[in-house]
């Protein structure tokens, strides 16, 4: 048993002793007696303090002292010591579509989890889950991860298991790609008061190779073709087919036959509604140019028009994915030859789940905290808004005792009467 506010328990004990002392040193009115010459008695306080040599009303005394003790105990917020090892683990598992093998990630996490450990599942958001839920995790649907929410959730998880432990270990099982970082990530990582163990999982785009891109049909006057041939930032070993006409059964068969491949359905349509517009991908590339808005299929939106409307969607098909691009390009001009368009195009042909940049992840790992000692559990246990589940019950019990004391006191004859 430990206390969140130990001094309150000590104060409760002192108050209970005070109650006992006051009971023994009771202030009571002497018995009323008629005395015609009362006027000659010097004036003084009607109450007289008397030390009771033989305590009376012991039940009343017990009720009062117990009520005060329970109040002190309640405010001290007792916590039962939870059983488990003295070193506990907070395991943070990335659960995104960017992982090449989600089952391997699950196995890696399972191998490190023990009884009493805490599990944090994160993608762009993080949540603390029970370790038993690890086997029941649904297939990941979010493309990228964010480390900052993970660190915050990890602290919450640490507080929940710190009571009764000596040390805490934070294990981050993730692809640790650079796009998982934001400006707050280094500070949040540094605020963890101890060692952070990082287990790096392979991500889909962890390669320096460029994807093999195929444009169908290969029209000579298609302005997209030369741009696809010179993709400056595209990474991956996957196959990409850009279909400029309607999708056929052949395309579906190709998609199912090639795991990890990407079928980009970007219809080549001539339209007069081209006007200045902007579109942005979820990995940060933007394109501002005379463009036409075309309908897109259902799926996860990976690029949006400036007003939020879907511009590109992605839908998993078997172990591959189908991207529907609703962007009409002008038939004239040098838009496709410009650098921003190349970057934008790189996002569209990125692997299923999004592009990953390993280079920045390496710099993140360079600032590893693997050599630090484990975090002290007492440091993490003392912070936050932890509440004792016993407190409401203790205070309610004290209230009941005080009510009983009132009832008992009314039934007892008054002193001096």
């Amino acid at each position: 048993m430990s206390f969140l506010v130990p001094w309150m328990f000590a104060a409760g004990i002192v108050a209970a002793l005070g109650v006992v002392a006051l009971h023994l040193l009771s202030t009571r009115r002497p018995p009323v007696s008629m005395l015609p010459t009362a006027r000659f008695v010097p004036e003084s306080d009607v109450r007289a303090v008397a030390r009771t040599s033989k305590p009376t009303d012991l039940l009343l005394l017990a009720l009062r002292a117990l009520a005060v003790l329970l109040i002190g105990l309640g405010f001290a917020q007792p916590l039962p010591d939870s059983p488990g090892p003295s070193v506990r683990t907070v395991l943070a598992l990335e659960w995104t579509t960017a992982l090449t093998d989600a089952e391997a990630a699950r196995s890696a996490a399972r191998a490190r989890l023990e009884a009493g450990d805490a599990l944090v599942i994160f993608d762009t958001a993080a949540r603390v889950v029970d370790a038993s839920e690890l086997n029941a995790l649904a297939t990941p649907s979010v493309r990228r991860a964010a480390l900052s929410p993970m660190y915050i959730a990890a602290r919450d998880a640490a507080r929940s298991i710190a009571r009764g432990a000596d040390s805490l270990r934070l294990v981050v099982v993730s692809a640790h790609t650079a796009d998982a970082r934001d400006a707050a990530t280094p500070a949040l990582a540094a605020s963890w008061p101890g060692r952070i163990e990082r287990i790096v999982l392979p991500a889909i785009a962890d390669t320096a190779d460029s994807p093999a891109v195929q444009v169908l049909p290969a029209d000579a006057d298609d302005a997209l073709a030369p741009a696809l041939r010179a993709l400056p930032r595209a990474r991956g070993t996957h196959l990409v087919r850009v279909q400029r006409r309607d999708i056929t059964a052949v395309d579906s068969a190709w998609l199912r036959a090639n795991a990890g491949s990407v079928l980009v359905h970007w219809p080549r349509r001539f339209t007069d509604s081209v006007r200045a517009d902007g579109v942005a991908t979820d990995d940060g590339n933007t394109l501002v140019a005379p463009l036409a808005r075309l309908p897109v299929s259902e799926g996860a939106v990976i690029a949006r028009w400036r007003d939020g409307a879907a511009a590109v969607s992605e839908r998993p098909v078997a172990s591959a994915c189908l991207r529907s691009v609703g962007i009409g390009l002008p038939e004239s001009g040098d838009l496709t030859l410009r650098s921003p368009f190349g970057h934008f195009l790189g996002s569209l042909v990125s692997p299923c789940g999004g592009r990953r940049d390993r280079a920045l992840a390496d710099s993140l790992l360079a600032s590893s905290r693997d050599t630090l000692p484990l975090a002290l559990a007492s440091v993490l246990a003392g912070e936050g808004n932890e509440r004792s589940p016993l407190t409401p019950w203790l205070l309610a019990s004290a209230l009941l005792l005080l009510i009983a004391e009132q009832i008992l006191r009314r039934r007892l004859p008054k002193a001096g009467s």
Partner: protein, 283 residues
């Protein structure tokens, strides 16, 4: 005579008389020496005859011997009407004060009545003032006993006003916890009119020594007056009470009132003899 529980007391004071402390005004023949001279057989002095005197009172032998006309005078005796003014306030209903007061009234009334004096009673309580006019008839002591028997002390009594209607000898039995200053003034007026005044200050032994047990002393005539009486206040209480009693006695005596302080644990027979004792035997 239906005297109820007072039989033993009356037997004990049977021979006791209550003489006046000074010559009384002329009245019906009685046992007290009057201020006037009369024609009784006992010789006192001669006075020259004056026109209008009864010739029967001339001392003819002296006239024959000396040819001078003198009237033979003798000491006159008269009765002295007595009113017992009894305080029946609530404060008298404490310990044995009321019982003692009743017994003293009966004993003194019997002593006065034995000297053929008319005796009456004025009973002043918080509710009403009840009077029994002074009479000499046989059963008057019984009437007084009956009236006292039906009375129950209550409230706060104002004695001073009742003095005005009292007989020449007015005996006040009170604990002096009421209108004692006004009573002193009234008794002083009564004395100026030629009357006699007695103050029987009835004190309870429990008032003189309330005991060591702590108590919240409450005035029976004013329940709001509550004072804690315990070891620390005992001394002060006794000192103030002694001073009060001494001041009352001093003030009353300065007006000419005969003051007797009686305790409720004293025998009424003894007290009756002490109060009725002739003046020359009082130190």
């Amino acid at each position: 005579m239906p005297v109820g529980p007072y039989g033993a007391l009356l037997d004990a004071v049977r021979g006791v008389r209550w003489p006046a402390r000074r010559p009384v005004p002329q009245g019906a023949p009685g046992a007290h020496q009057a201020r006037s001279r009369g024609a009784a057989p006992e010789f006192a002095e001669y006075r020259p005859y004056r026109q209008g005197d009864d010739p029967k009172r001339l001392d003819w032998k002296l006239l024959a011997r000396s040819d001078r006309a003198f009237i033979r005078l003798a000491p006159d005796h008269s009765v002295l009407g007595t009113t017992f003014l009894v305080d029946a306030s609530a404060s008298m209903d404490f310990a044995a004060k009321w019982t003692l007061a009743k017994r003293l009234v009966i004993g003194l009334a019997a002593a006065a009545h034995a000297g053929s004096d008319p005796v009456g009673l004025t009973l002043v309580s918080g509710e009403a003032t009840r009077r029994l006019e002074p009479r000499t008839r046989q059963g008057v002591v019984g009437d007084i006993a009956r009236l006292l028997g039906t009375a129950k002390p209550n409230g706060a009594a104002a004695l001073a006003d009742a003095v005005a209607t009292a007989a020449p000898r007015c005996a006040v039995l009170t604990d002096c916890l009421g209108d004692v200053d006004a009573l002193r003034t009234s008794l002083a007026r009564h004395l100026v009119k030629g009357g006699e005044a007695y103050l029987v200050h009835v004190v309870a032994a429990a008032e003189l020594n309330p005991g060591d047990a702590p108590m919240l002393a409450t005035d029976p005539e004013d329940a709001r007056l509550q004072r804690p009486l315990f070891a620390a206040t005992h001394e002060g209480y006794r000192a103030r009470f002694d001073e009060f009693r001494a001041a009352v006695a001093r003030g009353m005596r300065s007006e000419g009132v005969h003051v007797f302080e009686v305790r409720d644990d004293e025998a009424a027979e003894t007290l009756v003899r002490r109060i009725a004792r002739p003046a020359e035997s009082i130190r």
